[in-house]
């Protein structure tokens, strides 16, 4: 089934449009993405914890678990937000899809992000341990801020951020494609309008991400 979603999405969405919308399988996709994503969240949280290890014993574990949990919840929230935006856009363009149907399309459409997340975890496992962390031994906010900046400026993390962002953008294009086909197939919109519904949020997101990346790297990326 998932194979059909990736290789022949139009047929896949035409098939599910004939049935009652179900969120079980989309939820499984989002859950898989959230679980895998929380692994890289854990690694990053552990790295931040090392920086703060001079302030409190065991803070590494706390920050790692917190980051993993945040990533997990963030992935679930992202599904909900994407569904709301898609639903609102298709309604604006006189689409006929219910919110549940749009949420189903949104969930199925996020399957490329599972692949992207897996790749990001692999790359993170390579780059994150290379990061040089200087533990903070003071509670001075200015020094903590400087240490956090130095963490972001670490060469390994710098590259990891760039690569993971590029991968996200690449796979978000795929996601936009799936969403537009899903909306076209299930919400009674023309191909052009469906492309706008599926593509506009992704384009805005990509634009935001690229601008953040350029701001963060100072244009050196």
């Amino acid at each position: 089934m998932f194979n059909e979603l990736l290789t022949n999405p139009r047929n896949f969405f035409t098939t599910i449009s004939q049935n009652e919308p179900s969120l079980k399988k989309p939820a499984l996709i989002v859950l898989a993405m959230a679980v895998i994503g929380s692994i890289s969240g854990y690694m990053m949280g552990e790295l931040s914890g090392k920086m703060l290890s001079g302030l409190m014993e065991g803070i590494e574990t706390i920050t790692a678990i917190s980051a993993a949990g945040s990533t997990f919840i963030g992935s679930c929230i992202m599904w909900l937000i994407a569904a709301i935006i898609l639903f609102a856009l298709q309604k604006v363009l006189q689409g006929t899809g219910t919110f549940k149907r749009v949420m189903e399309i949104s969930g199925y459409g996020m399957i490329p992000l599972v692949i992207a997340t897996i790749i990001s975890v692999i790359i993170g496992a390579y780059y994150i341990p290379q990061a040089e962390i200087t533990p903070i031994r003071t509670t001075d906010p200015q020094e903590i801020s400087m240490a956090a900046m130095s963490l972001l400026e670490d060469p390994a993390l710098h590259q990891y951020t760039i690569i993971s962002t590029i991968i996200s953008i690449i796979f978000l294009i795929w996601v936009a494609n799936l969403w537009s086909i899903g909306v076209e197939s299930c919400c009674g919109l023309s191909a052009k309008k469906a492309l706008i519904v599926g593509g506009l949020p992704v384009v805005i997101y990509i634009a935001y991400t690229l601008s953040s990346l350029l701001l963060f790297t100072g244009g050196a990326a």
Partner: protein, 387 residues
């Protein structure tokens, strides 16, 4: 018989009797002189050293019932020189009285036991000759040093003990020990020890902080009676040699990491000596420029065979390939020592340059391109099916 004859016989008889009366008087004087005894004799100092001066006090007592007149008293000796004058016409010693005669003697240059003679000339009687013992000993004070350090380290205070022994048969007094005033710091600058009894010894502590290789000469001045003597002891001081027990900081497990804007050197510092290393501090030296967060790393105290990790951060020019790391410490007396360890940075490891030069590797770029191409193909494929 006429008067003239009678007078003649009387004078003749008196003339015959006069010698008898004189002889009787001399006998009485000799009997009285025989009651003169030497009741006390003191020599100060008791034992002389060659060429020492001593005072001899001899007390004569008249234990008889008649006073005895003394024409003169003198000391006669071939081995001992009498410096004072003889006693002449000292008068008489009354019955039961005493009279003291004090002489100044000077020993010759030879040690030994000598017997000068006190000769008292009685008036109208015989002589009194009284030999007495004068001992001349050559033994000076013996000086040695205890607790001498095996090696001297410049600027490091060491404690030594000067041991002074008196092998003589009499006590010496006024003992003062004075070290030479050279370039070293020596405390105390002198020490008054007073009397050292016969066959006794004295330990005097000194602390010496050497600066240079000048030997320290300890001069021991003392008095034997009124005679001033001195002996000296030369303590060689040779610095520049490393103490065998001294703490020794050794850097090991040294690792150089290149950070964004500086070098970070981590490692272990071990005390490979036999004494404590206090206030151990690690820092980098020129041409490196120490920078925060670890310009200087204070390790603290290291006992022998203890080790601790350290971390220093510094900046250095790109052409610098070696940086000296200075490990300094203080001994228990506060003397500071340091050692230098060269750390190789490696070529082309300038932090900023490395950071600037690094970009995405071709492999990563290739992978990203493949992924992008794959996704584009998937999107194109899904779109194509509709067409």
């Amino acid at each position: 018989m006429n008067t003239g004859k009678i007078l003649f016989y009387c004078l003749f008889s008196l003339f015959l009797l006069l010698p008898l009366a004189g002889a009787e008087m001399q006998a009485e004087n000799e009997a009285a002189a025989a009651q003169i005894q030497v009741t006390d004799l003191t020599i100060d100092p008791l034992i002389l050293m060659p060429y020492d001066t001593a005072t001899v006090t001899i007390t004569l007592s008249n234990t008889g019932t008649k006073s005895v007149a003394i024409s003169g008293a003198e000391i006669q000796s071939k081995d001992v020189k009498v410096l004072s004058d003889d006693y002449g016409k000292v008068g008489a010693i009354g019955a039961g009285n005493s009279m003291s005669f004090t002489y100044t003697l000077q020993a010759g240059g030879v040690a030994g036991i000598f017997y000068p003679v006190l000769s008292v000339d009685f008036r109208d009687a015989n002589y009194l000759r009284y030999p007495f013992k004068v001992t001349v000993q050559e033994n000076p004070l013996e000086v040695s040093v205890l607790n001498k350090p095996e090696t001297w380290v410049e600027g490091k205070k060491e404690n030594i003990v000067i041991h002074i022994g008196n092998p003589r048969d009499n006590a010496v007094n006024g003992v003062i020990i004075t070290p030479s005033k050279g370039e070293h710091e020596i405390t105390p600058t002198s020490y008054f020890a007073g009397i050292i009894q016969s066959d006794n010894s004295l330990d005097i502590p000194f602390s010496i902080t050497p600066y240079g290789d000048e030997p320290v000469i300890f001069t021991i001045q003392y008095q034997n009676g009124i005679n001033q003597h001195e002996v000296s002891y030369t303590l060689p001081v040779i610095t520049g040699m490393k103490s065998r027990k001294q703490a020794d900081t050794v850097l090991s497990n040294v690792q150089v990491d290149v950070e964004r804007e500086f070098y970070r050197v981590t490692g272990d510092v071990t005390n490979a000596g036999l004494e404590n290393a206090n206030a151990v501090v690690i820092t980098s030296e020129d041409p490196a420029i120490p920078v925060f967060p670890y310009k200087v790393y204070a390790v603290g105290a290291l006992k022998p065979d203890d080790f601790a990790s350290f971390e220093v951060t510094f900046d250095a020019d790109v052409n610098v390939t070696k940086v000296p790391l200075k490990a300094s410490f203080k001994d228990d007396d506060g003397n500071e020592f340091s050692s230098i360890t060269q750390v190789e940075l490696g070529k082309g490891k300038d932090p900023k340059k490395q950071q600037d030069d690094e970009g995405l590797s071709p492999v990563i770029i290739g992978v990203l391109v493949i992924i992008a191409a794959g996704v584009m193909v998937a999107v194109w494929y899904s779109r194509k099916q509709r067409a």
